[in-house]
C-alpha cells in the first residue's frame, strides 16, 4: 500500500522511548516533551549536561532518573563548559564524538541558563568549536525559581519580578535574540525548533548530529505553570507562536538562512491569538500589544530579508 506523504513524514520520529514515564514535570510541560524527542533522536549513546533549571527536577531526584542516557547535573552557568570538558575527555580517550555512530554530547539548558548567566560559557563552547549539541529550551522565564524574568522573556509578560499592578509595571524589554548571538559565532549549524513540530525538531537534531563542530538549537517550549495557560494548550500555543511569526522556525547553515515556518508567502496570524490564551499577558494594554506586534513583524521582515539575501 502506498503510504500517504503526511504519514511518511511522521515515521521520521523514532519509535524508541528513552525518557521514562514517572518524570516529575508539571502537566503540559513543553520542556519534558522536548527531552523526550531529544532522547528519541539520539538514543542511549548520549551524555547530557543539565544545569540548574526545571529539567533538574524533571529528571528526578536521587537515586532516580527519568533519562535512559548518562546525565551530569551541573551548576547553573556551566553547561557550555561542562560539555566542553566531556567532549575533550571523550576525545582524549579515543571515542568517536558526534556523527551517526559517535557519542552525542548534549547540553540541555533553559533560557535563563543560556541567555543570561550561562552566556559566557555558551560563547566559549561555540567559539572553541567543540563537537557537541547545545539545546536551549525556551520557556521564556526562570521557572524553577518561581517564574522570574529572563533575557528571553517577551515584552509585556507578567513574571513574579515584573508583576502587573496599579502602576502598570511589566516587562519593558523585548526578547533577547539568543540565536543571533549564537550565529555571530559563525558556527556550522544553528536552528530554532518547536515542540509543536516534532518532525522538524527531530530532523534538526539529526542534522546537528551529522554536522561536525558545535550546533545550537533553540526550542520553543511552553510552560503552563509560568504562562498561566491551560495545560492542554501547550502544543497549540507553540504552534501559534510559529504561525504568528512570534517564534519563526529557521535554520542557519554555514552562513545560509532558511525559513521553515510560517510560510513567507502568507501574512502571519495576529499576535493576539497567541497572547489571549495566556494569563501572563493579561496586564497588557492595547498599546502594549501593538508594540509587541510591531516588534514581531519587524523581526520577521528582518529574518525574511536574511533568508532572501543569504538563502
Amino acid at each position: 500500500m502506498e503510504i500517504p506523504e503526511n504519514v511518511k513524514k511522521r515515521l521520521s520520529i523514532p519509535a524508541d522511548e528513552h525518557f521514562y514515564a514517572g518524570h516529575t514535570a508539571c502537566q503540559g510541560c513543553g520542556a519534558s516533551l522536548g527531552i523526550r524527542y531529544v532522547l528519541k533522536a539520539y538514543g542511549r549513546k548520549t551524555i547530557f549536561t543539565i544545569p540548574a533549571c526545571c529539567s533538574t527536577i524533571i529528571a528526578g531526584p536521587w537515586p532516580y532518573t527519568a533519562f535512559e542516557a548518562n546525565l551530569f547535573h551541573t551548576a547553573f552557568e556551566t553547561t557550555g563548559a561542562v560539555m566542553s570538558g566531556i567532549e575533550a575527555a571523550l576525545k582524549a580517550k579515543g571515542y568517536k564524538v558526534k556523527g551517526e555512530d559517535g557519542v552525542m554530547v548534549v547540553g540541555w539548558a533553559g533560557d535563563g541558563g543560556t541567555a543570561d548567566i550561562g552566556l559566557q560559557a555558551l560563547s566559549g563552547f561555540l567559539e572553541r568549536g567543540h563537537d557537541a549539541v547545545y539545546i536551549m529550551y525556551d520557556n521564556e522565564a526562570y521557572m524553577n525559581t518561581g517564574i522570574q524574568r529572563s533575557g528571553s522573556t517577551p515584552y509585556g509578560a507578567w513574571t513574579t519580578n515584573t508583576p502587573g499592578g496599579k502602576r502598570h509595571f511589566l516587562e519593558k524589554r523585548h526578547k533577547k535574540k539568543v540565536i543571533d548571538i549564537v550565529i555571530a559565532h559563525e558556527i556550522p549549524y544553528a536552528a530554532t525548533a518547536s515542540i509543536a513540530f516534532p518532525e522538524d525538531f527531530i530532523r534538526k537534531l539529526k542534522k546537528a548530529q551529522k554536522t561536525p563542530g558545535p550546533s545550537f538549537i533553540q526550542l520553543f517550549a511552553p510552560c503552563p505553570t509560568g504562562w498561566r495557560s491551560p495545560t492542554d494548550k501547550s502544543i497549540e500555543l507553540a504552534r501559534l507562536a510559529v504561525q504568528t511569526a512570534y517564534f519563526p522556525l529557521f535554520e542557519y547553515e554555514n552562513g545560509r538562512y532558511k525559513i521553515n515556518m510560517p510560510s513567507t508567502k502568507k501574512e502571519p496570524k495576529p499576535i493576539e491569538e497567541f497572547l489571549k490564551l495566556q494569563g501572563r499577558f493579561k496586564y497588557m494594554t492595547k498599546e502594549d500589544i501593538e508594540i509587541l506586534q510591531n516588534w514581531v513583524l519587524h523581526e520577521w521582515e528582518k529574518l525574511k530579508k536574511l533568508a532572501e539575501v543569504f538563502g
Binding site: R44, W62, F72, S84, I86, Q120, A121
Partner: protein
Amino acid sequence: MAEYKPIRKVVSGNYAAAYAVKHARVEVVAAYPITPQTSIIEKIAEFLANGEIEGLEYVPVESEHSAMAACIGASATGARAFTATSAQGLALMHEMLHWASGARLPIVMVDVNRAMAPPWSVWDDQTDSLSQRDTGWMQFYAENNQEVYDGVLMAFKIAETVNLPAMVVESAFILSHTYDVVEMIPQELVDEFLPPRKPLYTLTDFDNPIAVGALGGPNDYYEFRYKIQKAMEKAEKVIHEVGKEFGERFGRDYSQMIELYRTEDADFVFMGMGSLMGTVKQAVDILREEGYKVGAAKVRWFRPFPKKELYELAKSVEGIAVLDRNFSFGQEGILFNEAKGALYNTDAKPLIKNYIVGLGGRDFTVNDVRKIAENMKAIIDKGELDVEVDWYHLKR
C-alpha cells in the same frame, strides 16, 4: 621495578608543576591564565606544541569558573584532569570546587598562592587557598619546587584512591618564578607509581546509564556529606601510605602530614605552611647554634587536617609559634585557629601564639624568625601570652 636514576633539571616552581602534569599523563587540561600561575599552562601548551605530550586535550576556556567546570565534565567522563590558578581565579572557581568534591572527582589543581585584591597584589599570601577550606578539597602546601613536582604526582594518586579533589599550593614568585634544582622521575617509574586512573563511575557506560548530581532531599543529602568526611579520614591513611611509598621509591619521604625539623628536644617550635618554612628551617639551624632549643613543624597537608600529629607534637613542647601568611578577618590566623581548635579537647596545652607574617608578599627573613624566637622565649619564661595574635610586621 626499574632502578631509579633521577633526572635533575633547573626549573621554576611553575615548570615543576607542568613537568609533573606531563609525567602524570594527564588527559584533559582546562585552564585560564592569571599571574603568577600563567607559566604553568604555557609550559603545558609548549609541551603539546612540541609533541612532547600525547593523549592530552587542552581546553583554553574563557574563565576560571569554566576551567573548573570543564575539568569536572572531563573527570566525570573518566579522564585525569588538571587545572591551575591563583587568587581571583580561585575565588571565581569557588562554586565549582564544591561541585568537584560533591561529585567525588579526583581533579588535581595547582594554586599559586597570591594575595586577594583590593588593593591589587600579585604577591604571596595564603588567604586565597585557605578561603577554599570548606569545599571538600584536600590541600597540600609545598615548601619548594621539588615539593611542587612531587606533590602533584602524589596528589593524583591520593585523590584517585579516595575520590576527592586535591589542591597543590605553591607560593607566588617565591616558588612560582624562582629556579631551583628539581629531581624528576623517569616516565616509566612515574607510570609504575601512578597507573592509569580507575574512575569510581563514568558517563561512558552507555548500557548502564547514570545520573550524577541529582536533587538530594533531606533524607539523603546528609549521608552524602558524611561520606565526604569518611573519604577525608581515609585520605589521612592514604597520605601516610602514598608518602611512604614515594619515599621508598624515590628517596623523599612524605609519610608525615606535618614534617618535623629538629623538634625532638625543642622547647618551642615554629609552625607554618609553604615556602616560608624554608626560611624557618634555616633560622632554626642558626638559632640552635645560638643556644635556642627550637624546631620547625611544617604543615604539609592542611586538609585533611593532621590532628593526631599535631597532638603528638604539642605534647612534647612548651610553646608553638604559629606563623600565618593569611588571615580570617574578625578572628585570627587560619592555621592558628585550626591548631588551637584541634588541641582544645586534649591534655596537650602548650602556649600557642599567632604571628601574622608576610601578607601580600611582605619579606619574611631569618632575622624575623629570630625576633619571634626572642618573644616566644620571653612569654614561655613568664608562662603567659603577651598578645594572642601578633601583627608582626605592622608599621607602628
